[in-house]
Assembly symmetry: C2
Homo-oligomer: 292 residues x 2
């Protein structure tokens, strides 16, 4: 299978590595050429100077870039993949982006006799490295069927959630559930400290019951030690929350706590925490508590 | 061991049953006498007409009642257990109450040469029935050591968290973590519906990753089906949150999301949901969303 991968960032770099190990005929592209060269030096294979050149003759083109406009650039831009992709080829977008973008690019692909699948992932850098990502997809069943065996190289779980945009909407639900949950955990641990309890003992006791969460189990130690370098960065979480809040304006859902937590993340950014992980809501709680 | 149990409500009734099966020499008391008679008819044993009479000659007196003042009534009231308890006996309070009450009663017990252990539980009615409660204790090591083998009759996990009040403070952390978490889950599921997704499929996909929680796994189906009869009632949660928010005023912790969720529960009460379970925050989200 001829495959192209566009965007060798923190996620894309190891994802493309898994495709290479799966013995696809792979061409990679990255905006900053030096990173593509480093990738080829490590993995072998071939780097192209533009998305269009990477995508020529590909059956499946996969992208993992930053924001909506970055996706537009590599897909429908002047040197975008859509120019050279052959009929019936599938463009898979792993970027967490808006559902509107997915619908827009799905329509454009259809006009050109091609396919588009929105396919944001969860599992973070660790999941990308270990090839254990969860992939939430939106698109036609035919396009999904063609793309799925390629994505399998780095998926623990891959699922078609509905038409174009459904993958993005599912990822939004994931981020909404995490945002309020991490803030609740931060309030709980900050309260435990204020009350003079041993927070580690508290977590040990309450983490077997109705307060249990992945975040509680996997983040409480790093939160309490003030190390916020163990996961998804605040500035990217804010990008995702902006997408959620924007979509909610359209679909009529209200997100009072998600919206408040977005504001707290803005405060974390002001504390210098753009690159801290999402559990740094705890640092904000503690800063407010210990201010004199 | 001579044991008294005060308060045969939803929790206390099955808890006292476990004590009887553990072959303690047990006397029970309940404010509404008919319930104590029903308990004796089911379990055998003996019911007393007042806390003082139940507690006479007991080594350990355990209580599970409603609010701070109910605990005061059965402990230090005119017919309270403290009047007749013998020297070195231990009063164990399973009620979720304030840490201040625990400190007040611990001091009063000490003045009388007795002991007090605050010991709120989690695990709900189901945990009480199955004898699988988590018990969070505050008090002296000596008092805890005497009470622990008795509580073992209905404990999956029992732990001394610190001095008087530490059990209550630990329970507060538990409730704080749950409040925001359930609201986040409610926002996520409501958003999923608004977005036209299949919420069951969404939960299936996202519940293996960083958004996972006990609440997501155990409550999403009942929430989506609109059945809020599967757990802890809203009016009791509001009692607990009032205790948390009151304690936070004293210890300097800030609880912005917990405080907001308390207000949402007030709205659930106005919707007729005093007796609905805590996951009914989802009903409020849906009511707001579908209002025209």
């Amino acid at each position: 299978m001829r495959v192209a991968f566009l965007g060798l960032g923190v996620m894309g770099y190891p994802m493309a590595g898994h495709l290479q190990r799966a013995r696809h005929d792979l061409v990679v592209y990255n905006r900053t050429r030096s990173k593509a060269d480093a990738w080829v030096a490590e993995h072998g294979g071939e780097a192209a100077p533009s998305p269009a050149e990477a995508a020529a003759n590909a059956d499946v083109v996969l992208a993992c870039v930053g924001r909506d406009d970055d996706v537009r650039e590599v897909a429908t831009g002047r040197h975008g993949a859509f120019i050279t992709m052959k009929r019936d080829a599938v463009f898979v977008d792993h970027t967490t982006a808006s559902a509107g973008l997915a619908q827009e690019l799905a329509e454009e692909a259809q006009r050109r006799g091609m396919h588009f699948v929105d396919a944001p992932v969860s599992g973070g850098e660790q999941g990308a490295r270990s090839g254990q990502l969860t992939i939430m997809c939106g698109g036609s069943a035919a396009a999904y069927k063609k793309a799925e065996p390629v994505m399998a190289a780095y998926a623990r779980q891959c699922r078609l959630m509905g038409e174009a945009g459904a993958g993005q909407l599912t990822k939004m639900v994931n981020q909404i559930c995490i945002a309020g949950l991490v803030q609740a955990l931060s309030e709980g641990l900050s309260f435990a400290r204020a009350a003079g309890l041993d927070p580690l003992a508290v977590v040990d006791v309450i983490s077997k019951g109705a307060a249990q969460s992945w975040q509680m189990e996997n983040r409480h130690k790093t939160m309490l030690s003030g190390h916020f370098r163990h996961g998804f960065a605040v500035e990217w979480m804010r990008k995702d929350l902006a997408i959620c809040l924007d979509e909610a304006r359209r679909n009529g859902a209200t997100l009072p706590v998600t919206s408040l937590v977005d504001q707290f993340y803005a405060e974390v950014e002001k504390m210098g925490g753009k690159r801290w992980d999402t559990s740094s809501l705890f640092a904000r709680q503690e800063a407010v508590r210990t201010e004199t």
